[in-house]
């Protein structure tokens, strides 16, 4: 995946990623326009599918609302790169197939507006604007399998013998 970078700070919480007023809306395509509204009310109009979010530590902290990663995925955000992710957000993202890359160096050095290419299966992040290449921390084997399967739904179907 390859896209333009939007940069955010530390502790970006799920209330700003997907505000509470949208919680009764369940259709991901309905809520996608409102992603990151708490930090930037115009984000949904400025960003494009394929764009990449680069942020500070503890991205996705706070509420477990799955509409936070769900909205990012529905919008078409290609990947989120950060030094660390909050626990529930990380689980949710893996479960639904939103790519996350844990890489402090990339999160620190990549700037807003850069163009970045991510090979998620290899964990390689290339900042095409500067030429710098970074490696994201690999997920443990158990999670790599889940990700390769496509998330928790295919995983559970397989466990139930449904396919």
């Amino acid at each position: 995946m390859r896209g333009r970078v939007w940069k955010f700070g530390d502790n970006v919480n799920t209330d700003v990623i997907m505000p509470g007023k949208y919680l009764s809306m369940r259709d991901p395509s309905q809520i996608a326009p409102y992603i990151m509204e708490g930090l930037d009310p115009d984000f949904g109009k400025k960003a494009r599918p394929g764009d990449i979010i680069v942020a500070g530590k503890n991205f996705g902290c706070g509420s477990s609302r799955e509409t936070a990663p769900g909205g990012l995925k529905a919008f078409g955000i290609g990947c989120v790169i950060a030094p660390t992710f909050a626990r529930i957000f990380l689980r949710n993202a893996i479960n639904i197939g939103l790519p996350l890359c844990e890489c402090p160096e990339a999160a620190h050095e990549i700037e807003e507006g850069h163009t970045v290419r991510v090979d998620f299966s290899q964990g390689v992040i290339t900042d095409e604007t500067t030429g710098r290449v970074f490696r994201a921390a690999p997920f443990p084997p158990f999670l790599q399998e889940m990700i390769a399967l496509g998330g928790l739904i295919p995983y559970t179907r397989r466990r139930l013998g449904l396919g």
Binding site: D15, L23, R26, N58, E66, P140, F142, L143, I153, L160
Partner: protein, 424 residues
């Protein structure tokens, strides 16, 4: 090598003798909790999985709390979908309007969780149940649907962080202040991925209401779970309530911890978390004087009977300030009824409070007290991020119910002593 209480519970549910921090396990779940929002999401995912029957309807609890009574048409349709699913699946532990409460108060109150359990909840404050000596963690609705289908959950075993409270809390210092003190020390991600284990001589002075408040906010330090090892207070609470047998575990003397923080409660002042983070904690004295448009006494953090009694004690014979709205939302139907019987609701009504049926309400900016641009609220809830309670231009301060009551009367943030000493 010894294990912590959290490790023992996880090992028991993974069918293993031993687990170690960092290890991935598949654990059997005792109770899967979904609220109105997460259950709605899970119903849709359950269908995508292609499962037809939940693994065990007796081990699922569905509690309507965030958007009830239906806050708009979208909410009403969402609730209908979940009701249909609950009926089809024969889920008995279902709490709808008029016989409900906030999930994290309902499960302990109704005896649906107990020591030694492993609980997965579709809400980040599911860590609350750890006050009863069980492992409990929050998840999203896809995970919840997965548990509904399989009866188990994948987990990475957390390292345990010991939090030791020593000393005696002063008259207006409550569980809320104890956990705010820990969050201040750790900051918002200081306990990231860890199981916070709350111990120390102070715990014996804390009833279950204060313990639930403490575990409720473990997530705000980034923790996966919070737990209080069971003692006589725990067992007194659980006897006569618990609907299933329980197992008491305790940490081994040689258990390993990722760290330990010690908090001296002697002389601790009531604390307030300033905008815009639960870890932006200061003494109430530092923010006394901030004018308030709204005071919210509610949420899974601080709207239990004990919290309402404390607030009513300060509001009795007094009125909320003319320019400050006071909203009181008891956390469950049972608590609401007890508050009625004890005359607490009359105290709140006489003070000019808007009293509601149980709901999360204003806490998450959903309904029942949403804030407008530029408004300032003091809330007994657990989060105050930008836009949490409404307009991004609003501000929320978090505090205990005593501070909330005093502040409602004076129309500004106030230490409870200011009110208790003032002539009526």
């Amino acid at each position: 090598m010894g294990m912590t209480i959290t490790e023992k519970i996880l090992a028991a549910h993974a069918g293993q003798k031993v687990v170690e921090p960092g290890e991935f396990i598949r654990a059997r779940v005792d109770v899967a909790m979904g609220n109105d929002l997460s259950a709605a999401g899970a119903v849709a995912v359950f269908a995508q999985i292609g499962a037809t029957r939940v693994w065990d309807p007796g081990k699922i609890a569905v509690v309507f709390d965030h958007i009830v009574p239906a806050k708009d048409i979208a909410a009403a349709n969402l609730l209908s979908t979940v009701r249909r699913f609950v009926r089809q699946q024969g889920i008995a532990h279902f709490f709808d309007e008029g016989r409900n409460g906030i999930a994290h108060i309902i499960l302990p109150e109704q005896g649906l969780c107990g020591p030694g359990d492993l609980i997965i909840g579709g809400d980040s404050h599911s860590c609350t149940y750890g006050a009863l000596g069980c492992f409990s963690a929050g998840v999203g609705h896809t995970d919840l649907a997965g548990v509904w289908a399989l009866g188990e959950v994948w987990l990475k075993v957390p390292a345990s962080l010991k939090v030791v409270y020593r000393g005696a809390p002063g008259p207006w210092v409550m569980g809320k202040d104890l956990i705010l003190a820990a969050i201040k020390r750790l900051t918002i991600d200081g306990a990231l991925y860890q199981a916070m284990e709350f111990t120390g001589p102070t715990m014996a002075r804390l009833g279950m209401s204060e313990r639930l408040t403490i575990c409720n906010m473990a997530i705000e330090a980034g923790a996966k779970s919070g737990i209080i090892p069971p003692d006589e207070i725990t067992l007194d609470y659980v006897r006569g309530r618990a609907k299933r047998p329980w197992t008491v575990h305790e940490s081994d003397p040689d258990a390993r911890y990722a760290g330990e923080i010690d908090i001296n409660v002697n002389g601790l002042r009531p604390l307030v978390a300033k905008p815009y983070s639960p870890d932006n904690v200061v003494s109430v004295d530092e923010v006394a004087g901030v004018k308030l448009d709204q005071v919210f006494i509610g949420s899974c953090t601080n709207a239990k009977l004990e919290d309402l009694r404390i607030a009513a004690g300060l509001l009795r014979g007094r009125k909320a300030h003319a320019e400050t709205r006071l909203i009181v939302i008891p956390a469950s139907t049972w608590i609401w009824q007890q508050a009625l019987k004890e005359g607490l609701l009359e105290v709140f009504a006489d003070a000019g409070a808007a009293i509601s049926t149980p709901t999360c309400g204003a806490c998450f900016g959903g309904h029942m007290g949403v804030l407008g641009k530029g408004e300032v609220c003091l809330s007994t809830s657990n989060r105050n991020f930008v836009g949490r309670m409404g307009d991004p231009g609003a501000q929320a301060y978090l505090a205990n119910p005593a501070v909330a009551a005093a502040s409602a009367v004076l129309g500004r943030i106030a230490a409870p002593e200011e009110l208790a000493e003032a002539a009526r």
